[in-house]
Amino acid sequence: MLTFVSRRLVYAAITLLIVSMAVYAIFAILPFDPAALTCGQHCTALVIRANRIKLGFDKPLWEQYWMFLHGVFAGRTYGVGSAAFHCPAPAFGYSFNDNMCVTELLQQKLPITLSVAIGALILWLIVGVGLGILAARFKGRWPDTASSVFVLFGTSLPVFVTGLFLLIWVSIKWKIIPISFLGYVSVFSDPIGFVKLFILPWITLAFAFAALYTRFTRASILETLGEDYIRTARAKGLSEKKVLRIHTFRAALAPIVTLASLDFAGLIGGAILTETIFNLPGIGQWTLRSVYEFNLPVVVCTTILAAGVVIIMNLIVDMLYAVLDPRVRI
């Protein structure tokens, strides 16, 4: 197990290295001058030149990349003398658009995206898996039919429709959950404010995902119920309830763990639509804006983050699976 995990961690590091190189390479072949984008309207040839030297854009690409890598582990100081500024490790660069170190920005954005993703995950797992179990249990009867109506709406309504609908009706017309202008609040300092801030984004995201999970759970349970070992369980004289609870669920829900972790990882990379609709300044919005602004350090950082989360979640899934299914013990 330990060798398995450490080997996978080495692979993860190599993958991340390649990802960061790729992002650097893409930006290098784009026909624009990164230094010219650091000063907006007030750019003079002199300022651009100064910033180019300060940020190291005058150096060859491989050296820039090396400085970036060095910064990730040791922190990085830009410029010299009194005008110098320092980004402590792990430094992913400096964003001129925000006049802040990227890592510092990340510390602001990540909690918001995490809050959106974790809350939505919990909600869609409860609703999706719950409805899926009901639909499978009462296959062909009204709970099954009702759940397929839910699935139909969930899969066919895009996030920007449900999101806007919730925003317009629940927040603006009915004023059930009025729009908050206070910005991000932590769950620890103000739990009620936190829920009020995030409940609509959660519902928006969870609605779409829960529909898929309902379908998936239902199919997985029905498939498991057809297994020979379920017939064996019934032949022992177990009640139908126990057959479902003890013998069916664990086997049927194992694949859902995989699905959920990968969907979750995808959300950390940014739920761009949801964050935009509800004006949540999370990773998704930040990435999108940075791409428009050619803000290289931010794009590198968010890309590595997204890739890193996918890799780590994959590792966690593999370990969880080993716990769930003795046949894949490592």
């Binding site: 064996t232 032949a235 004289g237 664990r250």
Partner: protein, 343 residues
């Protein structure tokens, strides 16, 4: 009630959009203590449906049962067809147990076999965890699993096919049932292992004085262990009798065809294997009259047109040997004379 299992006029049908499909029609059968009764037939002849019905494991929402399946439990007699399903559930695994064809997929892959065996005991003896553990090791030992206490902690995938079937048998025996239903217990196993499993089953049968209902298509297995045999075709019993009757004095053309289909080592080199021509009929669209008539090679010997007109009755040749055929009984020994069967 003296027998362990009494099936009378069992009829199993599946309602479909094209009408009811009769998987089993008018089946009667008894099983006594210490006796092995085999049900033989091709795929789709209704043998597995019969065994699942006896266990009450049919899907109540898609299956219609009529007739009766009576099994004594203590002083009372439970009718699987007509009694409360909860009563039947309470007997499952305790009075009657079942072992299945494929031991690879019949054990739950996620649980240690010790836990799965103990569970079978605990269903009917709630709370007696220590007894369950003891019994688990005893039963694993009885079915010939070396180091049973240690092996109980293993998962099914850590056992070979034959060992898994032993585990299945041990599980079926946890509550010392009186009736054991074995649905093709050796089909998925190597030939060498088949013999071991059959020997094991016979030994256990003696020890517990159990009745075994053996579902199989393997006449070799039948010859080895069965006392009485029922041959099924398209949901009907076509012949029923002692193993000797079936093997030496077959009286139904289908039985004769089955016996002839067994490959013989005495066949000359590169001689074609014999088979019954045609396919088993679809149960949705059974041939009129005798369902076997389109495949029957002896149809000329029967009174003209009778085979296509009516299904012959199950008529006694002797009190214990009955068969369905329109060919006059006195003609049959001569008509079927080239039967290559026998043990």
């Amino acid at each position: 009630m003296t027998s362990l299992l009494e099936i009378s006029n069992l009829r199993v049908s599946f309602p479909t959009d094209d009408g009811d499909v009769h998987a089993v029609d008018n089946l009667s059968l008894t099983l006594n203590a210490g006796e092995t009764v085999a049900i033989v037939g091709e795929s789709g002849s209704g043998k597995t449906v019969t065994s699942l019905s006896v266990m009450g494991l049919h899907n109540p929402r898609s299956t219609k049962l009529s007739g009766s399946i009576k099994i004594p439990d203590g002083d009372q007699v439970i009718d699987v067809v007509n009694d409360d399903p909860e009563k039947v559930r309470n007997m499952r695994g305790r009075v009657m147990s079942m072992i299945f064809q494929d031991p690879m997929s019949s054990l739950h892959p996620y649980f240690r076999i010790g836990k799965q065996l103990a569970e079978a005991y605990l269903v009917h003896n709630p709370g007696k965890k220590e007894d369950a553990k003891k019994r688990t090791v005893e039963m694993l030992d009885l079915v010939g699993i070396p180091e049973p206490a240690k092996r109980a902690k293993d998962y099914p995938h850590q056992f070979s096919g034959g060992m898994r079937q032993r585990v299945m048998i041990a599980m079926a025996l946890m509550n010392t049932p009186r009736v054991l239903i074995a649905d093709e217990p050796t089909t998925a196993l190597d030939v060498t292992v088949q013999a071991q499993i059959l020997t094991l089953m016979q030994g256990i049968q003696k020890e517990f004085n159990m009745g075994i209902l053996l579902i199989t298509h393997d006449l070799g297995v039948v010859a080895a262990v069965a006392d009485r045999v029922s041959v099924m075709y398209a949901g009907n019993i076509v012949e029923q009798g002692s193993a000797d009757d079936i093997f030496y004095r077959p009286m139904a053309p289908y039985t004769v065809g089955l016996l002839n289909s067994v490959p013989k080592i005495s066949y000359g080199e590169k001689q074609r294997l014999q088979s019954i021509a045609g396919q088993p009929p679809s149960l949705i669209n059974l041939p009129s009259g005798c369902a076997f008539s389109p495949r029957c090679t002896y149809i000329q010997s029967a009174p003209a047109g009778s085979c296509a007109a009516t299904l012959p009755d199950l008529v006694g040749i002797s009190p214990s040997h009955v068969s369905r055929c329109h060919i006059p009984e006195s003609d049959r020994p001569q008509v079927f004379s080239h039967v290559a069967g026998g043990k």
